[in-house]
Symmetry: C2
Subunit: 353 residues, 2 copies
């Protein structure tokens, strides 16, 4: 792998006490190209623009998949990645469904490690803050036929992010628009999944809701996910989350939260979940919490759930009684090397690798 370091770091311009999500990018980027069936030109170079033909397939036929992950610092400035192999596996699952070449493990992992090592000063130190890492794969062949690309570019960039303020969410259960369908690409991080959710989300925002809780496209009665987060419901003595299927992008954060919950002897059910159950759970006072979880926000609990125009209010628990916040703390403690990592999730990033 070639490494070209910048001669002018932008880091001194950044106020790490005031970093909004995805606004500043670290000094370097990793890129690798797929051409004639081979991965070539792996390089770490200064973050900068890329030059593409207007015919590049990604602009026309949407062959583009991505990942989201984070690097953390502990109090001694040691740097950790969190379950990076899960992101490696998932980007290739997405790539395969979009008929793109899987990225070799050494290109993904070595590019990632070397990039984050070089840009380690960009990782904020405080608890809850991190460096958000965005690996993505795009189609670059320059022929207008609606066929899979021959050429691809794999890129990793990163951006320092603040701890996410957990403003309780007002969520709308969607009963008109759809995010995905059986036999589709909902289980992948395909770029097109996000664009298609913007219009229904704007409608929901205009109605006063923060996010859409997506349901199945057939009947709009089965809960799926939030589009950028998975959803977990806390009923009496157990956590319930919709069972993974080809309409749901199952998150690494969600899986980790559920693993921590199981370790805490909390019952976890992964199964089909009806809107009716949620509404009845709220009415009967059996639903204690509902929350989204994902890499960006970690955990974000709901204040209200709206269904067909009616607002249903979730219990206004004190923070100390919230299972969501307890689980979040346990996850962040592992990520920031403040507690023992019995799962083996935390990967120390050595210096000057």
């Amino acid at each position: 792998m070639k490494v070209e370091k910048t001669i002018y770091s932008r880091i001194k311009n950044i106020n790490f006490n005031n970093i909004s999500f995805g606004k500043y990018y670290s000094d370097h980027m990793f890129s690798s190209e797929f051409k004639n069936g081979k991965w070539i030109n792996s390089i770490i170079k200064p973050f900068g623009k890329i030059l593409l033909s207007p015919i590049s397939l990604v602009f026309h036929y949407g062959q583009a998949v991505f990942e989201g992950m984070k690097a953390y610092k502990d109090k001694d400035n040691k740097v950790f990645l969190f379950r990076p192999k899960e992101n490696f596996k998932r980007i290739n699952k997405s790539a395969i469904r979009l008929e793109m070449p899987p990225i070799p493990e050494d290109i993904f992992m070595n590019g990632l490690r070397k990039l984050i090592d070089i840009d380690r000063d960009w990782i904020p130190k405080s608890y809850g803050k991190s460096l958000y890492i965005r690996p993505f794969l795009i189609a670059t062949s320059t022929i207008l036929s609606a066929k899979p690309s021959n050429d691809y570019m794999f890129i990793i960039v990163s951006t320092p992010v603040d701890s996410y303020y957990n403003n309780p969410l007002k969520v709308k259960i969607e009963d008109k628009y759809s995010r995905s369908t059986k036999g589709g690409v909902g289980f992948t991080k395909a770029a097109g999944n996000y664009a298609s959710s913007f219009y229904p989300t704007r409608i929901a925002n205009n109605e006063g809701f923060d996010q859409i809780l997506w349901t199945d496209s057939y009947t709009h009665t089965k809960i799926e996910e939030l589009g950028t987060m998975n959803v977990i419901f806390w009923f009496k003595d157990k956590l319930i989350t919709p069972k993974a299927n080809d309409r749901i992008l199952r998150g690494i954060t969600c899986n980790s939260i559920l693993s921590i919950a199981k370790k805490e002897k909390i019952i976890v059910e992964e199964r089909n979940l009806n809107v009716k159950e949620i509404i009845e759970g709220i009415k009967k006072g059996e639903l204690k919490e509902a929350f989204g979880c994902g890499t960006a926000a970690v955990i974000n609990f709901f204040k209200t759930i709206n269904y067909k125009g009616n607002n249903f209010y979730l219990p206004d628990l004190p923070k100390s009684d919230r299972l969501s916040l307890l689980l979040k703390k346990k996850l962040l403690d592992i990520q920031h090397n403040l507690s023992e990592d019995t799962f083996g999730w935390r990967i120390l990033l050595k210096k000057n690798i």
Copy 2:
């Protein structure tokens, strides 16, 4: 609109007797940018690469829509566009569903006319050949939040295309994967719709089929479209095509073909169409032809339709008995100014506009 002409035309390198689809691009491109709520920097300039940040939203969240249309020459070298306003209307329908700003009519139409006027030598003259025109709109904001872009780029490029060889298609009725769903974006030319069809199409190709005939994602019993073409069935005395809905991208070529058919006193039915009807129609000998229609291929008739592993053979009609080829000829005659255009579809492109 600024115009910067190339000082070196590539046209002398092109053998117009051997042009494969989307391989060569005409000398110029049109582009216009949307920034701070305004369309600015409209320009015609030499065809060339574009410089984008790796964070550009199109790479991550798939906000990208496009159109496909053609310019034709008659025997006197007069140049015609075909129903360009329909493409203008449709790209904005797509844009709105993907929460992108609609393109103003004057930017779309003036950019198109001026570009094709300047590159008119790139339009092949022979019957059936044309200049394929690709307008597209992409999101260019450089912030990683999964939210609609603030900035966009609208570009038009063009490529000379041969008359399409009508190799009869072997088509597979899909009963596992889905192209779109109710409440989704199937009715738009969103980039992501194409990428998600590549994997199922490759599987169909490996099984020996040319294209997939998509069905509804609920039951896989209702016929929808071909992904790059609409589908029309010729039953005894009438043509039947699936009724437009939010899963089907209704094509301008298909609409034109149906209008020509109606003018020829052929009964046209637009309605829900079951797989069962198709299979029984073949068995009873009532289905005379099935064909796809779209801008690129114009019309492409089927040889076989495969359903759940069984091949159903369509009648091996002589070319002179094929309604599909008659309708195709009538359409091409209008496009190439060989017959009267009672519909008002053909738009003469004046010189040096």
